[in-house]
């Protein structure tokens, strides 16, 4: 793809971001306010929403900036062997970012759906969005990363380099499965506002929720390990420096998005005290900041790589 066309695609991503942000703000602040256990006034609730909306928008901006720059770079080189593989990775990242925006937009409909008696339907659709988009994204990233490894010098890549990631994956997925099946409200909930539920029997929770999420994590962990292996084996001192930023950014985005999903499942499952729950929420916020920083690294690395392709 030529530079002019690639830049026009990048502009379209920013336009999509602006439209999504406007829709998100409108849907959030026009949503009906449900009675809450903290007895907050409507004004206090809206201020609290603002405290949530601003970081979400900031993360979106960084995520779209990172994904758009990566897609721009991979579009410039998509006819070459490394370009084909990197383009698949960047497509996966675009789906991941778009998916998280769609999920956030859909989440703004929660109170409307609950008040209109569609709580269970909302839950099923929310589960579908939470599963389908990330698994598609991580699978695309995994396919691209596998293509990169095939291009890499094989002497630097050993089966041992996959050992720690597989051990970490096994520990995370086992704990996650235990946490989901330990949630007392997993099959039904007396109050959907207070306690989240999947509204399905255990066998379906395992088949439709746990298995795809764990598979998503496996694709993600294998993908970032392959990308790091490719980065370490790549020739070219300047190329490797730029690629390191991109690879570290991807590593951060994949690992932190897995951790956010993991910690999100822990809260309702462990029946935590209020203090422990606050700790988990703060931890999720810290991870969200690091997740956003990951997109900053992707953007920085992709811009440096694109500059190598643009310079005449």
């Amino acid at each position: 793809m030529d530079i002019v066309k690639a830049k026009s695609v990048k502009r379209n991503y920013y336009l999509g971001l602006i439209i999504s942000a406007l829709v998100y703000v409108i849907l959030t602040f026009t949503a009906p306010i449900l009675s809450n256990s903290y007895n907050l006034s409507n004004t206090s609730t809206r201020l609290l929403q603002l405290a949530f909306v601003l970081p979400v928008l900031l993360i979106w901006i960084l995520a779209v900036y990172g994904a758009a720059n990566f897609k721009y770079y991979s579009s410039l080189i998509q006819d070459s062997a490394d370009g084909k593989a990197l383009d698949k990775v960047s497509n996966g990242l675009v789906v991941l970012v778009a998916g998280s925006i769609v999920q956030s937009l859909f989440a703004t409909l929660r109170t409307r759906m609950i008040t209109s008696g569609h709580a269970i339907g909302f839950t099923y659709l929310n589960i579908a969005l939470t599963i389908v988009l990330p698994i598609a994204a991580f699978y695309m990233i995994y396919l691209g990363a596998s293509g990169l490894v095939r291009l890499a010098r094989q002497e630097g890549i050993t089966p041992q380099s996959y050992l720690f990631p597989i051990v970490a994956f096994t520990a995370l997925s086992s704990t996650y499965t235990w946490a989901v099946l330990n949630n007392p409200y997993r099959n039904a909930t007396p109050d959907i506002i207070k306690y989240t539920s999947y509204f399905m029997p255990d066998i379906l929770i395992i088949l439709l929720v746990v298995t795809p999420i764990v598979a998503t994590w496996l694709f993600g962990i294998l993908a970032v390990t392959s990308i790091k292996n490719y980065q370490h084996s790549a020739k070219g001192s300047l190329y490797r420096q730029a690629l390191a930023k991109l690879a570290n950014g991807l590593l951060a985005v994949v690992v932190f998005s897995i951790l956010i999903q993991f910690l999100g499942a822990l809260g309702p499952s462990l029946n935590l005290s209020s203090a422990s729950l606050k700790f988990i929420i703060i931890l999720i916020y810290v991870i969200l900041i690091l997740y956003a920083v990951g997109y900053g690294f992707i953007a920085s690395g992709a811009k440096r790589l694109a500059k190598i392709e643009e310079v005449k």
């Binding site: 070459s80 490394d82 070219g236 300047l238 190329y239 690629l243 790589l305 310079v311 005449k312």
Partner: protein, 78 residues
């Protein structure tokens, strides 16, 4: 036969730009020498060495690396 010279240039460039090397050199030859990449010959090397020096300086502030790269291209004239 200039193909082996072209391949030597790519091999040197790969030490700096990895898989982007061939694309980078092809652009340099096409834009600045107004030739097809495979048509490059030893007489073109001093001009190419100057252009890659200018272009690489846009990518890094490491002067030693830029000068080293340019000298290695120039050395192919011998």
């Amino acid at each position: 036969m200039t193909v082996s010279l072209y391949e030597d240039i790519i091999l040197i460039t790969e030490d700096y730009l990895g898989p982007a090397a061939q694309r980078f050199i092809d652009r340099q030859i096409t834009f600045h020498l107004d030739k097809k990449p495979e048509q490059i010959n030893k007489a073109d090397l001093p001009k190419l060495a100057e252009w890659v020096k200018v272009s690489l300086a846009l990518l890094t502030e490491d002067r030693a690396l830029v000068d080293g790269f340019s000298e290695r291209i120039n050395a192919l004239t011998r």
